[in-house]
């Protein structure tokens, strides 16, 4: 379940947590776009380095490193497929450009993962839903969205509860080799599905008992306001993305050359 930790909101107080979700979403999108526009290692490295202070400011280094470690497998796949296919299509020759490109692609993945993991780790689903609501998206949709975002940890929790109940009555799930253990998890599946359905019925029962759907328009206890810090960040992000697009077409970006390899 560690992989999901990089997407699970962690309630902390930091400047980043304090920012409006829309601001953060914009920043994540800007980072995402820039990393797509450029495939040069230099730019991607700068982008990566630029994210580090954000992660530290948000105090989410632990969760972030979990999500990167969770993605390590994918990073290796990206790196090796780029290398292998490049190598083959390059007439079986390893060049500096190929190596740099493959590394850049892996970097791109890390950057995109990090930028969205910063967003989800520092934005409570409540605020996320609020941001959607305030963008005049119908409440039913916002509700469905937040419920879906929340569903992963809820399901994980539910699964844990059932496993605990089963091993407390003698089902051995901690021993044996991988295959055996996987087989042991099968009794978990049906109750998990049944429980998920039952839970959603209970949820509906509880929600209706608290007047869910009584009024067309509902209010929200919280409200989001674009603060000064938000405005500054939004404007800078827009400037940065324009600069990036401009330089992509008008500037020559230096290429790194790895010694001992042909260019």
């Amino acid at each position: 379940m560690k992989v999901f930790e990089g997407l699970k909101f962690s309630r902390k107080t930091s400047i980043i947590h304090f920012l409006d979700p829309r601001t953060k979403f914009l920043v994540s999108c800007v980072i995402f776009l820039i990393s797509l526009i450029f495939s040069e290692l230099i730019i991607l490295s700068i982008l990566f380095v630029a994210q580090i202070p954000l992660i530290l400011l948000a105090k989410i280094q632990r969760e972030w490193s979990h999500s990167i470690r969770g993605g390590a497998f994918l990073i290796i796949i990206i790196l090796s497929t780029n290398l292998i296919f490049g190598y083959i299509s390059n007439n079986f020759q390893l060049t500096s450009r190929l190596l740099i490109h493959s590394i850049a692609m892996a970097f791109r993945f890390i950057i995109i993962t990090s930028s969205f993991s910063i967003f989800f780790l520092t934005t409570s689903p409540d605020n996320l839903s609020l941001a959607l609501e305030q963008s005049h998206i119908p409440y039913e949709f916002c509700f469905a969205f937040t419920t879906a975002v929340r569903f992963v940890p809820v399901l994980a929790n539910e699964a844990q509860t059932i496993i605990d109940a089963q091993r407390s009555r003698g089902l051995e799930v901690e021993k044996g080799n991988f295959l055996k253990r996987v087989r042991k998890y099968i009794p978990l599946l049906i109750p998990l599905i049944v429980n998920a359905i039952r839970r959603s019925l209970e949820l509906a029962e509880a929600m209706e008992s608290r007047a869910f759907g009584a009024k067309k328009q509902r209010t929200n206890i919280y409200s989001l306001k674009i603060k000064k810090a938000d405005s500054i960040i939004i404007i800078s992000s827009l400037i940065i993305i324009f600069l990036a697009i401009y330089s992509k077409f008008n500037l020559q970006i230096p290429i790194i050359q790895i010694p001992l390899l042909p260019p």
């Binding site: 109940a165 091993r167 407390s168 009555r169 089902l171 021993k175």
Partner: protein, 278 residues
Amino acid sequence: MIKVENAFFTYPSGVKALEGLNLEIQDGEFIGIMGENGAGKTTLVKHFNGLLKPTNGSIYINGKNTRETTVAELSKNVGLVFQNPDHQLFCETVEEEVTFGLKNFGFAEEKIVERTDWVLNFLELERYRKSSPFILSGGERKRVALAAVLAWDPNILVLDEPTIGQDYLQKERLRQYIEQLNGQGRTVIIVTHDIEFIAECKPRIIVLSKGKIINYATAKEALTNSENLSKASIFPPQIAQLFTQIADLGLPKDVIDVYEAKVLIENLLKGGKRNEGV
């Protein structure tokens, strides 16, 4: 035997639930654990079958460190009934709930049938044998959870709030059964807020507060120590309250049992003359 050695437990969220517990529970003891909401009672008993492992310190069950074994193995000896039956039940019928443990522990077919019949009868669940546990009433569900554990008759029985949703007759039957098991040498541990139930069971009592043990004494001592109890948000049982109030009439203070109370008061009222005569 259960041995808790300087156990600390902190939830991933950072809540410190147990703060350095030391405890020894011998085989055949009867223990009641009480304490305010959030005191750490559930957290503690989940350590007894290994569902939780202490963040610091150790727990030994029959000499075995819970870190070095599995929950399934521990459960053969330590049967845990969860506080919330919804966390414990997952089968499609009441009968399957009961047989689940029996099958895992490798009981013979006849034995499974015999134990299932017995426990469903005992907890008045026979007519729900084929029903889904989830359409039962709150109290009935709690009894299914109890049945699922009583079925394999573990040596150490840990009941987290067994009386929730139970009427007096059900509680009385449960109490008698617990006493019977305890008489046969089983260790029984109950966690409860039900002070009147505890006063009838009279186990040895552990008072837990804010993750620490603040009293470990006989029922009589613990339940009449109102100052200590109040630290854990508990009042003494009614009979104890009464006898504290009327101590000036020359009656003992440490009375918790209604039958004992009856004899004392009867003597006080009827024997008022007898007393003068002496």
